[in-house]
């Protein structure tokens, strides 16, 4: 056994420890050539879905899998350099009009779309009825989708290929939200309970769900009736639920998987070394944050929260743990134009332990205090390491932190929602509209406001931005809200956004990921082998 270990040691004599390249993407998929048909793409994705019902889960696991099967009314543009594009392009709707007052949206649907040929839908044509049925279902189920439709008074279908959304007041994010992964269009039959949505999916998309074996794999085959001519190129897609990070690396190295995603600096380096000719694309997808239960003392004191924010060496943390990252705001940089400019974000979150100590003293805690911090290892080991990093930083200014690593279920359904914690480390869900980052977390009645933020002025501001239809004006106003959050709320404390690295085997072409869940680009992927 010892010999074996020594052997391993020798075999992987450490290479470079320098952090991963700072560039957003190196080795980008440039000239593509003529697409070839055939082949199966396989890769590890995040967790196995708990359900395939898109309206019961906003988890990436669910939506990334069924995204291959379903379509939306509209979607985001994908392609090289379009990772976080918010450009809305047609999907099931070929075009649309918005009335002057921003209260009426008219969608003209494609008339050449057929449902996948599976009972009970059996390949019938897609019509406006399906859209209406889906929207009704969304409204009636719990979930953030329903919030998007709050201002939608009624949806009409004048004919089979037209759908009109009537709003009670302007709602700026509507198109963005309709393009988001939460708005997959289901067949009418499914909304009537004739399809087991938990375990199967019948859509209009490029791939047909062939089988989903829980904990093993989800396999998809080409939809021969897909409405975009000539697509998809792949014969099939196989997605494995995430495994141990080493297992994933091994699978990629031995060519069993074609693509691998990782947020770990270590894996990045290992992969770079062991598969030198792989194409690498690094993109900011998600961000981490420190949420604070401000219903508890002394965390209700904004000075304390600001001190905590100042105490954290964000740059050091992302360099050490993720290899790469950037200062984050309350709107994530993935929303590009909508986010606060980087300089400003950096300014708000400069590492300043001395300043932190002063703030703490001002708040009346010159000697600090003791808190407990919850974190889950359900998102992988990096987050726990980050928690240790943050704890050490806070210790520097006198706040003693006891880390509680919780099992995912406890963390997610018990301690956090019922506010049984002092502070916690978590991730930020990537969203497609800034309001999705603001409303749930910071409005006093936000459905995920589990840190006890209660600021009437903020509530008003968040409500207000929905009414601003003009994009630029709305951006400005949202920037204002962000500044207000930095200055007057400081809860959660943003940590940083970091990169996820996509490694692709050299023969993988057209794999241009987008931050929105659902592999919108999969229809364009082909294998050059």
């Amino acid at each position: 056994m010892l010999i074996l270990i020594l052997f391993v040691l020798a075999a992987c004599e450490s290479g470079s420890n320098e952090p991963a390249s700072k560039s957003e993407s190196s080795n980008k998929t440039g000239e593509e050539g003529t697409p070839k048909e055939g082949g199966t793409l396989s890769f590890y994705d995040f967790d196995d879905p708990k359900t395939l019902d898109p309206h019961k889960s906003i988890a990436s696991a669910t939506n990334s899998r069924i995204g291959l099967v379903y379509n939306k009314l509209v979607t985001f543009a994908t392609g090289p350099d379009n990772f976080s594009s918010d450009e809305i392009v047609p999907d099931l709707a070929k075009d649309w009009e918005i009335s002057e007052d921003g209260k009426t949206y008219t969608f003209h649907l494609r008339d050449d779309v057929k449902w996948q040929n599976i009972a009970p839908v059996n390949g019938r044509a897609f019509t406006s009825e399906d859209v209406i049925a889906t929207m009704e279902r969304i409204k009636n189920l719990p979930g953030p989708q329903a919030n998007s439709l709050v201002s939608v008074e009624s949806i009409e279908a004048p004919d089979d290929y037209t759908v009109i959304f009537n709003l009670s007041e302007p709602y700026a994010p509507l198109l963005n939200q309709l393009a988001s992964f939460v708005m997959w269009i289901l067949p009418k039959e499914a909304t009537e309970g004739k399809v087991d949505l938990d375990n199967t999916a019948i859509g209009t998309g490029p791939f047909i769900l062939e089988s989903w074996k829980r904990g093993v794999e989800a396999s998809f085959k080409k939809n021969p009736d897909y409405f975009e001519e000539g697509k998809p190129y792949l014969d099939g897609v196989t997605i494995y639920p995430n495994g141990d990070s080493m297992t994933e690396v091994n699978a990629f190295r031995t060519g069993q998987t074609d693509v691998i995603l990782t947020d770990s600096k270590i894996d990045f380096e290992t992969l770079k070394k062991s598969v030198p000719d792989a194409q690498i694309q690094s993109e900011i997808v998600t961000a981490s944050r420190l949420f604070i239960n401000q219903t508890r003392k002394p965390l209700d004191n904004i000075l304390v929260r600001q001190a905590m924010s100042k105490a954290i060496d964000r740059e050091g943390a992302w360099k050490s743990i993720y290899g790469n990252g950037e200062y984050n705001g309350y709107v994530m940089p993935t929303l590009e134009d909508w986010a606060l400019p980087l300089d400003e974000r950096k300014e708000y979150q400069e590492y300043d332990p001395e300043g932190a100590k002063e703030l703490l003293a001002e708040a009346g805690f010159p000697d600090g205090f003791e808190v407990s911090m919850i974190v889950t290892d359900g998102y992988g080991p990096q987050l726990v390491t980050l928690a240790e990093w943050v704890a050490e930083d806070l210790k520097e200014i006198g706040i003693k932190v006891n880390i509680e690593v919780l099992e995912y279920g406890t963390f997610f359904s018990e301690r956090w929602p019922s506010k049984e914690y002092d502070i916690g480390i978590g991730l930020v869900t990537p969203v497609t509209d800034p309001s999705d980052s603001l409303d749930p977390f910071f409005k006093s009645d936000g459905y995920r406001n589990w840190q006890g933020v209660n600021d009437p002025k903020l509530d008003e501001m968040i409500k207000q931005q929905y009414l601003i239809v003009d994009r630029d004006e709305r951006i400005k106003y949202i920037n204002e809200i962000e500044r207000y959050l930095f200055e007057n709320v400081t809860n959660h404390v943003n940590l940083f956004a970091y990169h996820i690295h996509h490694f692709k085997q050299p023969y993988v072409k057209g794999f241009d990921p987008h931050s929105n869940y659902g592999y919108l680009f999969m229809k364009n992927v082909w294998l050059d082998k």
Partner: protein, 299 residues
């Protein structure tokens, strides 16, 4: 004169017991080189854990952010981890947790096991039946699953890992103790003591428990090793010792991702753990050979 005799008696008694002990040690060392080495190693680990503050060059949780993931070198003889903590210091301090987990799990499950086993074995009948079925029920659930429940129930903390292990290990002790109790209950010296008029309590305390020593000691030594492994496995499943405490299991738990780029993070805690468990297992084996009259008396 009589007092003198008492003193003389006490001294002589001490001498004899001490002498017996020494004689046994001598015999053990002679007959069992592997066991002796194991004891030596275990004593070394205990010594290290006691003297950890002296031996460890760094604070085990101190993050040295200038030297993250540095391989073994002059300043950090076993390298540093992903937060720049000194691996050697963490291993040294980690011995405390491993020993604490092993020791507490074994001692408590031994106490409970002896209690249930004695009660079950001595009284028999319905009590025995009920206790045994409960023990069977606990043993029928795979131990890791059971530990997973308990750890989730109580939240992650060293003491909860210990509680989980105690619940898992208790039935093993209870089973062995019960068997021993049944055997000892039928021995002639227990009968002799009963014929004298000794109480149940006296028989259990003076006759039964001292004489079931051998199998319990053997089991304890094996359980010690298994507890250390179980702690590591629980940590691997994410329900073990919480960070930043430097437990060997925790150090190993997410180390797989470092295997290629920073193997020292994996190798050294792994080695420490495996050697320590090996020592306990070998000691258990050696004690079994040494204490089992069926093997040792056939010389």
């Amino acid at each position: 004169m009589q007092e003198l005799q008492t003193v003389e008696k006490v001294i002589l008694k001490e001498n004899t017991k001490m002498f017996q002990f020494k004689e046994n040690c001598r015999r053990f060392i002679r007959s069992n080189p592997i066991g002796t080495i194991s004891i030596g190693f275990i004593l070394l680990v205990i010594l290290i854990s006691v003297l950890a503050p002296i031996i460890a060059p760094y604070d085990p949780v101190l993050q040295n952010r200038q030297s993250i993931l540095i391989g073994p070198n002059g300043t950090h003889i076993l390298g540093t981890d992903e937060l720049g903590r000194d691996v050697f210091s963490r291993i040294v301090y980690g011995s405390r947790i491993s020993l604490l987990v092993g020791f507490s799990a074994v001692v408590f499950s031994m106490i409970f096991g002896i209690f249930f086993g004695v009660v079950s074995g001595y009284f028999g009948g319905v009590i025995d039946m009920i206790v045994q079925r409960i023990m069977d029920a606990i043993m029928s659930i795979p131990s890791l699953i059971l530990a997973l429940f308990i750890a989730a129930l109580l939240g992650p903390a060293i003491q909860n890992v210990i509680i989980a292990l105690v619940i898992v290990e208790t039935p093993r002790f209870a089973r062995i103790v019960r068997g021993e109790m049944l055997r000892i209950r039928e021995t002639n010296y227990v009968e002799a003591s009963r014929s004298i008029g000794s109480s149940v309590f006296r028989i259990i305390w003076k006759h039964a428990i001292p004489n079931m020593g051998a199998p319990i000691i053997v089991l304890a030594s094996l359980a010690f090793g298994q507890s250390i492994i179980a702690e590591a496995s629980l940590s691997f499943l994410g329900i073990g010792t919480p960070p930043p405490n430097p437990s060997w299991g925790l150090m190993l738990s997410d180390a797989s991702r470092f295997m290629e780029t920073a193997p020292w993070l994996v190798l050294f805690p792994g080695l420490a753990l495996a050697l320590c468990v090996l020592a306990f297992n070998l000691l258990g084996d050696a004690l079994r050979d040494f204490l089992d009259p069926k093997i040792s008396s056939k010389k």
